[in-house]
Amino acid sequence: MLQVDHLVKEFRQGDNKITPVKDVNFQVETGEFAAIIGKSGSGKSTLLALLGALDQPTKGSIFVDEVDIAKLSAKKLTAYRCADIGFVFQQYNLVPNLTAIENVMLPMEFAGVPKAKRLNRAKSLLDQVGLEDGKQLRRPTRLSGGEQQRVAIARALANKPKLILADEPTGNLDSQTGEHIFGLLHSLTRSEKVTIVAVTHDLSIAGKTDKTFKLVDGILHEEKPQKKS
């Protein structure tokens, strides 16, 4: 379960103080798919960075399974990111000189999983996200956008995280591929019992999630549930 209480993030930009996240409170249950929508510059990415322990909040708490990650040390945050969080980025962010399967193996290497075990799991995950065998040994530049995003999703699942944070996961894909990727993410919440929080502009996708939040000027509002499975 993800629970966020009174989360605030402030920046200093010259003499100005910017507060992209102002007193955010929300909760997402285990296995739920939540979407955060908002205009460009509304603070969506900042909020995602805070949830993913990529940045430290100015105030507030973020509980993941009752552990307040806002209070963890840098070393524990690294371990937390490695074991409990999976990221899916808009621009996929695969390591360009590694093959698809090597990219999926990378988080497991950081977690200290033995080589044989990580190879098997990486292959199994790539099969699960639908990347053909022949493409698993290709480098990202030789894969389509949709295929790269499948690899990124497989990589996010590598260490069996509790939470997957997706930043515009379909933003760089055509609508049909975007649908497939969304469907894939949605199915994972069921099969892997993983909580997904996705930041998106795509209102059609937002409408298909378990929960939808709208971020306006740093304040999060829960939209009326309109789950369509």
Partner: protein, 468 residues
Amino acid sequence: MSVVTRGVKNAFRNWLRSLAVVLILSIGIGLSMSMLVANEAVNAKITDLKASIGTTLTISPAGSQGFEGGGEPLTTDEMTTISNVEHVVSVSATSSFRLQNEDSSSDTSSAMPGGMGGSSSSTSTGTTNLVSSVDAGTLGRRNNGVSDDSTATFTMPITGTGSTGTDSSGEEYNITSGRNLTSSDTDYVAVIGTDLAIKNSLSVGSTFTAYDQTFTVVGIFDQGTTFDNAGVAVPLSVAQTLTETTGEVSAIIATVDSADNVESTQEAVQTALGEDVADVTSSESTVATAIESLQGVQQISIIAFVGALVAAAVIIFLIMMMIVRERRREIGVLKAIGGSNVTIMSQFIVESLVLVFMGAIVGLGVTMVSSNSIASALVSSSTSSSSSATSESGQPGGGMQGGGAIDIEGGQGGMQGSTQLIGQVAANVGWKTIVYGALAAIAIAVVGSAIPAWIISRVRPAVVLRGE
């Protein structure tokens, strides 16, 4: 895929850039290793030169070193005084005389070359049936008052030494046939130089006459120079008897216990004997000039070694900075998916090490090809600049002996002597250099990637989102 494998793989990410980096680094590392090799070669040469100084002091009558000769002969009492000086472990003496061929022209027989070991006015001359192996040459005639167009015959005298087995500079005779003289020899026996033996068709067992006595050749020596190999040596006591100088010696050779004590012992002996009695010399001064110029080369090579290393470190630093800046987002991704600072920094340090090691391997090739030329060029430029400086200051040189075959170049003689002493500097790339090179490569990689690694640790993983 481990951190090391990823680091190695990353080093070949951009082949063209890696190739350029390796080439530039190889020049820097090669140059630094060449300087190290040159430094070692020069160091070995200095050690050789220091060893060649030996531990002997030559004590001659005061004033006998110049053209004019002079001074009172040394005596056995002075030998005792010298042997009592601290650090002196043994004392030996030689007595010099000259032999003039009995058939040579009577009007030139008294004309002796000046400066031949000094004491020209007091050195005894006897007659012999031997013929000198040294051709007097034009200079020999001129220095002895015989004009070039004179029809008179001038024959170079033969230098004789009363000895117990060493020449006048204290070096033991290098016997090529027969045996050397010993302190127990009291008969009319002699060892003669190779050239003199050839000129007079003498071998071990042959006889010749000197001072109206018949001497038996017991050994033939080769001291390496035309002048030395034209000489003859007889037992010291025999020489003293024949020249009626019993108790007197021409030169005393004192052996000092260690090369480090030569200078202080030289001063002590000089003080003990007095400056008006004897001149005390060692070969240290000539060697000191050579060592001084080699030490200059050593300093240059150390500075260049450090400079080339710093340049290589700066190159790898700039390259790693560029790579880190280029891969900032990737670093953010690695951190976001659980990579620790240590893991990511290690990956980049491995990448830098791979580049530096490749540069070091090519640099080793550069060193093998260039180190000898660099060492020779350094030594040659250093000695020639010292030589010109010495020449301008008018320092006198050696080669004053007269006689056709002997160098009389005067002013430049001193430095030419040191240049000859230095000779060839052999630069070899040994294991020591390779180990130092490897250590230097590691140092370059670590120093060059330290700041980029620190920058990596400062990259916030959120950068991966902010850029989007």
